[in-house]
Amino acid sequence: MVQPIIQVDGISKRFGELTVLDNLSFDVRPGEKIALIGPSGSGKTTILRILMTLESISSGIIRVDGEPLFHMLRNDVLVPANERHLHKMRTKIGMVFQLFNLFPHKSVLDNVTLAPILTKGVARADAERNAMSLLEMVGMAEKAKAMPVQLSGGQKQRVAIARALALKPRIMLFDEVTSALDPELVEEVLNVMKKLARETDMTMLLVTHEMGFAHDFADRVLFFDRGRIVEEGPPKEIFNHPKQERTQGFLKKIIAAGHRV
């Protein structure tokens, strides 16, 4: 049996009094495509942000590639990770945000090349060659010289995907990457993601309210509610025969709101 690439083991996350993730555990196999669904406030964004080390955890342990994410071993004791450890762990993980977060003062090409040049010491010419092939892949090669303000939301998001891919992470996190887009721009971004899922063996975790997309994209769906995973399974099972009442209720509401399943 292969070692899971992500092991979330009994973690909790509290913001003050509020418990956002409640003794949460799950594993992800290398190359697996996972969709995280669930009602608003159930902790989906929080778990992705934790995996990206943008938030800390209150208790529990997360392993990535077998190594603790927020801890390191010192004299056989787990101690809180230092910046260097986090830096090393982040090389394995990339994230795409709901609001793109492109660097507005950098051209499209520079957005994609900046991190490889600065964090991996890649030569500019090589970084640019790689960036152009990624921009080609997301259909943005023609806009390489453009500034982010000149792009539509869908175009920005495709650049943001290329930017994250440029560091060649083994795990990619996507947090509702289409929910800030006008409806007619959603498709172009989803197509890029489908292509990624088909053509790479990257591990992908995706939070989405597009149930139809989750259905086609995911090997496994995790249904979150109140900081726990209430139900999980292959998309066919979760969407067609949900066992838990809360999953059924959630899906019913989503369908009533007009989303495709």
């Binding site: 990206m52 943008l54 830096h87 003062h105 900046l114 991190a115 600065l118 964090t119 303000v149 994250a164």
Partner: protein, 219 residues
Amino acid sequence: MIDWAGYLQLMLAGALLTVELTVVGAVVAFIMAMAAGLGRMSRFWAVRAIATSYIEFFRGTSIFVQLFWIYFVLPLLGVSISSFAAGVMALGLNVGAYGAEVVRGAFKSVGKEQHEAGIALNFTSWQRTRHIILPQAFVIMLPTFGNNAIELLKATSVVSLISLADLTFQAQVVRAQTGSTLVPFLGVLILYYAMALSISWAMRLLERRVTRGLDGVRT
């Protein structure tokens, strides 16, 4: 018969010194503003404390007092510097303390999501500051820095108190020697105003350069 050409030359020499004080003072002020502004946001307690003390001290005392200390008191403690260096230091340290707050405000106004994008791309904290936040913050600082530079220009006249022959000083000389008040003071007015205009104009040019293709960064 008054030799106006000679006196005009005197005033222009004074104006040149004023320009020098302004330019060098502005460079010192810029460096101090950056250092102290970033220092106030440092992870390290001691760095924050030093930056805060500097800012509070130089904003809390007048530039006269600062100049006198640098020029008259420091020599008593064994540190003596030229009057030009004293003038530049007083101006730079004083205006830099105000600039530090501008730097800090501008950095704070760049959204948290830009930091987070930087973390997700595995930049170090310094790389985030240098390559992501600073270029965006700089655009926000510029207009206020323009105002600060003009404030600095106007403050340069304090150096006449330590007998530096700047524009204000020379105008007094001309007035004393010629008995005419209108001519030297009209000259002073025009020359200071021309310098202030040049600063505004240069800052606008710089602003246009750094904001090229950047509309929408500044909100």
